[in-house]
């Protein structure tokens, strides 16, 4: 009997296994994207002229179809998860770099001046003042990047079933089991919603200093 959660054996994973794989393939690129974006964004804040060209480059990279990336990368990283994750990490930059730059720039000039005047050097200023104050903007960027990454992972199906839940779409086609496609879409949507909610929670925890909506001063 072909049940909703009966995963064809060619995928070599249980339903939960696919979910774990999917999350890994979706979230690691966002994390890597964040680690790459932080220094890039800081350079853009430091050297204003750098920001427009960097934005241009990330946008162009975002416009490169993932298939093209795969064709290029397959020579180096083969039909692997890494091949799927590299483009996803690159795509996340288009959201994360501007989010961090805007966040860091949102630090009021008098706050920055006060920090400088109190004798915080550039490094302390960045880690103790600019970055913490940029957290809400960074997490807003992470939410978009994460949700889009979760949906984009499925394209990995094209290179030897590296698309985690996305592979179900292919199997639905081969085995004439449309319920697998429904399963894939619903599960990915649920993952996206849960990941988004988790990030909202993280922001709440990290920013007790933000005015709550509707709360009186």
């Amino acid at each position: 009997m072909s049940g909703f959660f009966d995963i064809p054996s060619d995928l070599q994973h249980s339903y939960l296994g696919l979910i774990g794989l999917h999350l890994r393939e979706a979230l690691i690129p966002v994390l890597v994207g964040l680690l790459v974006s932080l220094p890039i964004a800081q350079l853009c804040v430091r050297f204003r002229w750098l920001y427009p060209p960097v934005l241009g480059v990330t946008t162009v990279l975002y416009a490169v179809p993932s298939l093209a990336f795969f064709v290029f990368l397959i020579d180096y990283t083969g039909q692997s998860e890494t091949t799927v994750m590299i483009p996803l990490a690159v795509y996340s930059l288009v959201v994360l770099v501007p989010a961090i730059v805007d966040g860091v720039r949102s630090v009021p000039p008098e706050t920055l001046a006060a920090a400088t005047a109190m004798g915080l050097g550039a490094v302390r200023r960045y880690f103790q003042v600019q970055l913490p104050i940029a957290v809400p903007a960074i997490i807003a960027g992470l939410r978009v990047a994460t949700v889009s990454s979760i949906s984009l992972v499925s394209i990995g199906m094209l290179i030897g079933n590296q698309g985690a839940l996305g592979n179900l779409l292919n199997d639905a086609n081969i085995y004439h089991r449309p319920e697998l496609a429904v399963n894939a879409v619903l599960t990915m949507a649920a993952l996206a919603i849960l990941a988004d909610a988790a990030l909202v929670l993280v922001r709440r925890v990290l920013t007790p200093w933000m005015p709550r909506k509707g709360a009186a001063r």
Partner: protein, 378 residues
Amino acid sequence: MIRIDSVTKRYPDGTVAVDRLSLEIPDRSITVLVGPSGCGKTTTLRMINRMVEPSEGSILLDGVDIQAQPVNTLRRSMGYVIQNAGLFQHRTIIDNIATVPRLLGWSKERSRARAAELMERVGLDSSLARRYPYQLSGGQQQRVGVARALAADPPVLLMDEPFSAVDPVVRKGLQDELLRIQEELGKTIVFVTHDIDEAIKLGTMVAVMRTGGKLAQFAPPAELLSAPADDFVEDFLGTDRGIRRLSFFPSGALKLESGPVVPVDADAKKLAARGSADVPYLLVTDLDGKPLGWGAPQDLTAGEIAVGQLLPYGRPFVHGKDSLRAALDGAVLSPTGWSVGVDGTGRVVGVVSQAVIAEAIRNAHAEGRTDDEAKAVR
């Protein structure tokens, strides 16, 4: 002492923000830099803690060039208060105040204990310690800014328009608080403002700067008011500088008359006796000695004084504490032309006429009374 020695700040585009400025800022007093926007006052202030580096000239702190020590060491030895407070919005009030002690390597407990002490000193309730800046009013935030600047007990305090963004009532409170704190702590304060009244109120010395970063006059406030160096300073001081200068003359020298003062329950004999003095009006007080209003002797009937019909007495001045300006103001406000002097509790000490006040003003001018005693009067 901070000595600014022929300092010029020229920006790459050729703009001169400060032009060969020389100033000697005395220790343990408030020196105010005042002037219109673009006069270079903030730039000057920021050169003292090297947030702006001068193009020419030097700044000496106790005889040593400020370039001689690492910049962050210098900055940690100078408190800095900025407009809108510039608090760290992501840190609690107590941690904001503890910033510099922490930078100096104090333990967390010691820093927080010190911060708590300062909250009290600047008049902040200890219940605010764990709040975040957004939960405080503008005035409270500014107090936190002052406490934060004082946290490591720096000898020098730099204040850049600290009270400009709060409403006038709160501003007056903060100014009074600063004077009180300064009396206790005796810091060397450099204070930047565009508000000449604030400069006159707070400054021991006032440096008036003009557009282009030139010093127009450097003098104690009373001297500024009595002898502005040129038209620019005179214009900047605004109208009624003569009246404002009276703020520097104490009212203690005024001789008050207690004759024309009667309690509201005065009998006919007393009324007649007081009325016979060569004064056209009597000041009626309540049974506690507080003023109620003026009445002509012939209109006052013993036992039936109608309080509602009395003439207003303006605003009483506290004899010996308020200035001649307050005394004159009271006299001008009342249709009788007499001013009411009270003690610290608001009870009438005596009354004084415009003529007597005018004489006191003439005497004060003659004596040039603008000494420290007069200063305390404000």
